[in-house]
Each structure stands twice: as structure tokens, then as C-alpha cells.
């Protein structure tokens, strides 16, 4: 179920990126029992569905975030050598370039959307196990 919802959500994404996310989500779905065992949580199919879906959301965020992070930080390092940016063929990459500005804006807007959708606390986590444990904690808090 979660994989179908994820497919539906990611449908407008370019294939190469969509494939990365769905492949990742499928791998989590297949190794669900191991993930629960490692986290010492009794297996629960409904909970796994939520874990898989949220792992897909985290992956979408990571795709955008790491590219911005690497570019921005690399430009900072480059500036310590008094160099203002990269030239890649005819492309110019610096903090004023449209590519950088667009990526920055996109990342900010995605984070805002994720926050509005009440998912920010999940994308801040570093592993699938942590997502599982947080979901479980939230579920037990609601009971």
C-alpha cells in the first residue's frame, strides 16, 4: 500500500530520480522484518508501511538537500583560495548563478512544504530504525 502511494506521489519525478527513491523504498520493504528485529520492535505490517513511505519522503528531501549542501560548501571552500566559482564547459557555477539560486530556493520551499505536511521531524532523522522508533513512540503516545 505504501509503495503504491509513494509511486503516486513520485509519478511526476524524472525516471532516474524516481527509480532511486522507489528502489530504496522497495529495499526497505523487503528487509522490513530485519529492520524491526534490529530495532527490537515486534513486527507490524501497518507500521512498516508507514516506515517505507516516510523513508521515501526522507529520500526525496535528501536528494535535494545533499546537492545543495555539497555545492554551497564546495563554493565556500573554493572561496578560501580566492576563486569565485566553477566553470563546467560553458556553465558558470557560483553563488550568483541561476543554478545555485534555483537550487537554494527549491530546497527552502521543499523544507517548508515538508514542515507544513507535518513531516519535518522524520526527515531530520538519520536512519530507518530511527523513523521506526519514532513512529512507534508516537503510536504508543496516542493510545
Amino acid at each position: 500500500m505504501s509503495l503504491e502511494l509513494l509511486d503516486q506521489m513520485l509519478e511526476p519525478l524524472p525516471y532516474a530520480l524516481r527509480d532511486q527513491i522507489t528502489g530504496y523504498a522497495n529495499a526497505i520493504d523487503e528487509s522490513g522484518e530485519d529492520i524491526f528485529a534490529t530495532a527490537q520492535v515486534p513486527f507490524d505490517r501497518t507500521l512498516l508501511d508507514r516506515v517505507v513511505f516516510l523513508a521515501g519522503v526522507c529520500r526525496l528531501w535528501t536528494l535535494v538537500d545533499w546537492q545543495f549542501s555539497i555545492l554551497s560548501n564546495s563554493l565556500s571552500i573554493l572561496s578560501s583560495s580566492q576563486v569565485e566559482g566553477f566553470a563546467i564547459g560553458r556553465r558558470r557555477l557560483d553563488r550568483q548563478s541561476q543554478e545555485f539560486v534555483d537550487l537554494d530556493r527549491m530546497r527552502t520551499e521543499l523544507l517548508r512544504r515538508i514542515r507544513d505536511l507535518d513531516c519535518e521531524r522524520y526527515v531530520a532523522l538519520r536512519s530507518v530504525q530511527e523513523i521506526l522508533l519514532l513512529l512507534r513512540e508516537e503510536a504508543s503516545g496516542h493510545q
Partner: protein, 256 residues
């Protein structure tokens, strides 16, 4: 959190930024290589090397982002400290260690002895690859989660390009880092155990997951250490003494 709302909300975001996502899918491998290059550069800077950009175009670093082209037509970094002088290149073709197969491997980041690229037009025209003996170390960058087969492939690269790092006894100045696999993903499954196994077998390699976090740390904290081994605590040892980082120095660790 309502999952149906998340599906609708993020789907509309993806549609709205479709052009941007298309660009991301085209540029992600370039950004990986930029990040790996910066890690290599910062490693040397943090060992006290003087680091400079060479062959700039205007005030920009002309990046080599594919196997095509020759390194002297692009920018690179030089790093110097006392009698150690190296160059750090992106997408560098290097000859195989075996040598008799005429093998050429293009590494994402290559560290080589400085001043060894040809300068005369005729030599430049004939240049095909960096002589393996001039290659000191290298970095491979992946966007993937670090899974066991990726680690095995990387060990294969080290074996073909710089096999001396796989030997119990080897010779390399401690200021250089071991060949490194860096990834924006994390260590998956048994990968952490496999990495530990490399250490126990004295494979001098670095496997660095979530390297984007290290790039961020190095960019914002001038005191942050390089994520690469050999670790900084060993840097006070004589420069030409090669050491294992996972235990006391033994006779086996002393070069020939």
C-alpha cells in the same frame, strides 16, 4: 500526519519544480565529484599544506567532469609542504599498476606527484594517462548507499590502481590519505563489519559514508579534522614512516 495529504502536497511540489528536478538528475554526478575534490583538497590543507588553484580560467576553477579531455586543459589544486608537493585532479586517467595490460582507469579524484604533467605541445598531444608510479592516492565518489558489493568493487579498484595499500607492508608518507570510497549514502547491512574486516586485514583504505556532512563540517569549521585515515594523531611521526591506524606500530609496519 495525514499520508494522503503528504502524497498530494509533495506530488504538487514535484510537478511545480519539474524542471529543477530534471536539472538535478543531470548534475548529481558532477556535484558528487566536486564534493570529493574538495574533501581531497581540505585533507591536505588540514595537514598544513599550502593549497593553491592552478590553471584557473579567469577567476574560476575549470572543472573536469568526465573522462574526456586531458588534465592540463583544466584546473587543479597544488598542495605543498616542505619537500612534499602534490597535485589534486578531477577525473584523472591513470595507468594500471600491472602496466602490461595498457589499462587506463579514470578516478574521480587523483592525487599525483607535482609537476609531472607534460608542458610541451608535442608531449601533450601524445599524453594518454598518468603513469601509475606518479599516482599517490585517489577518491571514488558514489551517490549510493554503501552496500557490500560496492565495497568489493572499490577493493578491486585499489587492487588494480594502487595495490601497495593492500599489502601488510607498504610505503607511503603519512600526510597522504589512503584510497577512499566516499558516498552520500550510509553503510548498509553488513557494510560496517566489512569495513572493520578491511582494517583487521591491514587494507589501507577509507570508506566514508555521508561524506556531504564531512564537506559541510570542513567548510564551516577550520579546526575540523579530515575524515580520511591516516588520522591526524599520527602526523607527528617521521614523514616516510608508513603506519597502521588500527593498533600499535609493529615491525611489519616499517617500510623496507
Amino acid at each position: 500526519m495525514d499520508i494522503n495529504n503528504v502524497v498530494i502536497g509533495l506530488r504538487s511540489f514535484i510537478s511545480q519544480y519539474h524542471t529543477q528536478f530534471l536539472r538535478l538528475s543531470r548534475t548529481e554526478s558532477q556535484l558528487l565529484e566536486i564534493g570529493a575534490l574538495m574533501l581531497g583538497v581540505e585533507h591536505y590543507r588540514r595537514q598544513g599544506f599550502e593549497v593553491n588553484v592552478q590553471n584557473k580560467v579567469g577567476n574560476r576553477f575549470k572543472l573536469k567532469v568526465s573522462a574526456k579531455g586531458k588534465p592540463f586543459n583544466f584546473s587543479w589544486y597544488s598542495a605543498s609542504k616542505s619537500d612534499v608537493n602534490v597535485e589534486i585532479h578531477g577525473n584523472l586517467p591513470v595507468g594500471s599498476a600491472y602496466g602490461r595490460d595498457d589499462g587506463v582507469y579514470v578516478v574521480d579524484v587523483g592525487v599525483v606527484e607535482a609537476g609531472t604533467l607534460p608542458t610541451k605541445p608535442k608531449e601533450r598531444k601524445l599524453w594518454r594517462r598518468m603513469d601509475n608510479k606518479l599516482v599517490i592516492t585517489f577518491i571514488e565518489a558514489k551517490k549510493l548507499v554503501v552496500y557490500p558489493m560496492l565495497m568489493a568493487q572499490f577493493i578491486g579498484m585499489v587492487h588494480e590502481i594502487k595495490p601497495s595499500f593492500m599489502k601488510r607492508r607498504f610505503e607511503c608518507a603519512v600526510c597522504h590519505f589512503y584510497p577512499a570510497l566516499v558516498s552520500v549514502g550510509y553503510l548498509r547491512g553488513t557494510s560496517a563489519n566489512i569495513r572493520e574486516g578491511f582494517r583487521k586485514r591491514h587494507f589501507r583504505v577509507n570508506v566514508v559514508p555521508t561524506f556531504d556532512i564531512h564537506v559541510s563540517r570542513l567548510a564551516h569549521d577550520s579546526t575540523a579534522a579530515s575524515p580520511f585515515e591516516p588520522i591526524q594523531a599520527l602526523q607527528n611521526l617521521p614523514a616516510r614512516l608508513a603506519v597502521s591506524t588500527d593498533g600499535p606500530i609493529t615491525a611489519d609496519d616499517i617500510p623496507f
